[in-house]
């Protein structure tokens, strides 16, 4: 297990390096001169040359990447050209909001497991058909539009939840109310996916011999369902949860924009529109790194779910 964990950790390093290379290249090979952009339209040739020197833009690309990587591992992500603030500080301020959004949406997504079990215990029933068709709708609904619909109905119409923003601290009535709609907006797609997957996995497993044996020896149905069937359904579900975490992080960009949440995703979009590349670079690397690490954890969790998987 330890060897496997170390190997997976080592395998994640080239991917993470690749993420930094790609992000760096995408933004540095973009058309347009960043020095001109930072200096603005009124900057003189000397000012632009100074900016170029300060940001090492006059050096070869591989040297620039080396400097970027060196700074990155030392926690220096550069400075925002728009706000004169360090990118690291900007991310630190916004990360808790994005993390809260990701965690609460994951909770909504996890509701898909009991729903999938419920559908699988009554295959082809009205409940099953309803759940599965609703989940198909859930996969197809644009999450930014779902967010807007929820705002129209529950915030504008009924006044139950705030229209926008997070209220701090989260552990207050106002704070919790502000979490509900963004979490539903972001979690619904994943919930639908997990419900469908749990259902089909459960249906597959319920026909297996060991389930028949468990029933034959007189185990209560609940025990059969949760201790035998569900546990074996969980590996594909956990894999998808890990992969879906990527969609969740991508979706956070959109959800934060809909609900005006001051998070990392919204920061990325705002910085793109302002062409503040250091901030875009920092937020993209942070989000992608989180995704790679979460998938690493997902891989490592397989052993907990299924001890028969032998690593070496």
């Amino acid at each position: 297990m330890l060897i496997y964990s170390l190997r997976r950790l080592l395998e994640a390093i080239p991917v993470l390096l690749g993420v930094t290379v790609l992000t760096f290249l995408i933004l540095h090979l973009a058309p347009g001169d960043p020095a001109q952009l930072i200096g603005g339209p009124t900057a003189t040739a000397q000012e632009i040359a100074n900016i170029r020197q300060r940001l090492h833009l006059d050096r070869p690309l591989y040297v620039q990447y080396g400097t970027f990587l060196w700074d990155l591992v030392h926690g220096n992500l550069g400075e925002s050209i728009q706000r004169r603030e360090t990118v690291l500080h900007m991310l630190e301020v916004r990360l808790p909001n994005t993390a809260m959004l990701a965690v609460t949406s994951m909770l909504v997504t996890l509701l898909g497991i009991p729903l999938g079990v419920l559908a699988a215990t009554r295959p082809n029933s009205l409940l099953d058909l309803l759940l599965m068709n609703v989940s198909l709708l859930g996969v197809s609904i644009p999450n930014f539009w779902l967010g807007i619909l929820l705002i129209i109905w529950f915030s504008v119409g009924l006044g139950w939840f705030p229209v926008a923003g997070y209220h701090h601290p989260f552990l207050s009535l106002e704070g919790l109310r502000s979490l509900v709609l963004p979490a539903i907006t972001l979690g619904t797609g994943g919930l639908a996916l997990v419900a469908r997957l749990t259902r089909s996995g459960m249906l597959d497993i319920m026909g297996q011999d060991y389930i028949r044996t468990a029933r034959a020896k007189g185990l209560p149905e609940r025990g059969v369902l949760f201790r035998h069937a569900l546990r074996n359904t969980m590996i594909p579900v956990v894999t998808v949860l890990g992969l879906n975490f990527g969609a969740l992080l991508g979706g956070a960009v959109v959800t934060e924009s809909v609900f005006a949440i001051n998070g990392v995703g919204r920061l990325a979009v705002d910085s793109i529109l302002a062409r503040d590349y250091a901030v875009v670079q920092g937020s993209v690397v942070l989000i992608a790194t989180t995704f790679v690490l979460v998938n690493l954890l997902v891989d490592l969790s397989y052993a907990l779910l299924n001890p028969t998987i032998r690593y070496a």
Binding site: S140, I151, F245, V253
Partner: protein
């Protein structure tokens, strides 16, 4: 085994079986009807409405749906919503189809190379893994960040966003059939590598690609709409659905229909292609149900 067995079955018989399964699938029927509505709306937009989608009528701003002459109402500039929705379908379908075709061609070529030539497998799949490591639409967003905000760049971004998955699916399918007898026979008679990849292998791995392309069409339309919603894609006054919802956000209190209507259109289109993709997968591979 299964792939060579599948090729033994005459293509015509297999095709009629698939069609039979599709005809019995309610998901396929609903998906087809929805897709047909969107496609017909896009193609016949000029016949279905006489109003220019860009025409601003300041005497008729924010008219609610059902107003005579404006079935779906008007926006804050007095532009006809129905006309904008119909012309918006053209944009969404064009962006979706173009980006999927571009992503498909590039992804399939990379997947064929990675699956067929062992030496190329590792480098191609490493780059692929890095691309896949970008969560959700973040890769598309980063590409738009570099290229600038425009609808054309959205097509490029969404196409690149689709490449890694097409490449992975193709590579997996190639690995499955690489050792099959008909591939060895083609090699034995001296066919060129390009011919084996494109004429021998590709036709035999089309099923998963067709299924994924139709599902990807849904994702691409959704991603493009999302980018425009974020202000990174189509710019005002374009009647792109995502951009329309973005502009309508100011009127959530006074004119919520401005947000609801284009959203229904995106939802319907995405649902249509998801249903078609799902039912195609079930019909081509009944075991997947």
């Amino acid at each position: 085994m299964s792939s060579s067995a599948a090729t033994v079955e005459p293509a015509a018989r297999r095709g009629s079986k698939v069609l039979g399964r599709l005809r019995r699938s309610p998901h396929f029927m609903v998906g087809s009807v929805l897709a047909l509505i969107v496609v017909l709306g896009a193609v016949f937009a000029p016949l279905l409405t006489r109003v220019d989608p860009y025409y601003q009528d300041y005497a008729a701003v924010l008219q609610p749906p059902g107003t005579p002459g404006h079935l779906l109402g008007t926006d804050a500039f007095g532009r006809d919503q129905l006309s904008r929705m119909l012309y918006g379908a053209r944009i969404s379908l064009t962006v979706g189809v173009t980006s999927v075709v571009l992503g498909l061609v590039a992804g399939v070529l990379l997947g064929l190379l990675a699956g067929y030539f062992r030496r190329l497998d590792r480098p191609i799949m490493m780059v692929n893994d890095v691309l896949i490591a970008f969560p959700g639409i973040l890769l598309a967003i980063s590409i738009v960040a570099a290229l600038g905000t425009s609808l054309l760049n959205v097509i490029v971004a969404v196409a690149i966003f689709s490449v890694p998955t097409f490449a992975r699916i193709t590579r997996g399918a190639v690995l499955n059939v690489r050792e099959a007898d008909y591939v060895s026979s083609a090699q034995a008679v001296g066919s060129s590598h390009a011919r084996i990849m494109l004429r021998t292998i590709l036709p035999n791995i089309l099923s998963p690609l067709i299924v994924y392309a139709s599902l990807r069409l849904a994702t691409s339309i959704l991603t493009a709409a999302t980018l425009s919603f974020l202000g990174l894609g189509a710019q005002p006054p374009s009647p792109e659905w995502g951009a329309m919802i973005n502009q309508a956000r100011t009127y959530l209190y006074s004119a919520p229909y401005l947000s609801i209507e284009p959203g229904v259109a995106i939802f319907m289109t995405v649902l249509a292609f998801n249903l078609l993709g799902d039912s195609l997968r079930d019909a081509l591979d009944p075991r997947s149900q």
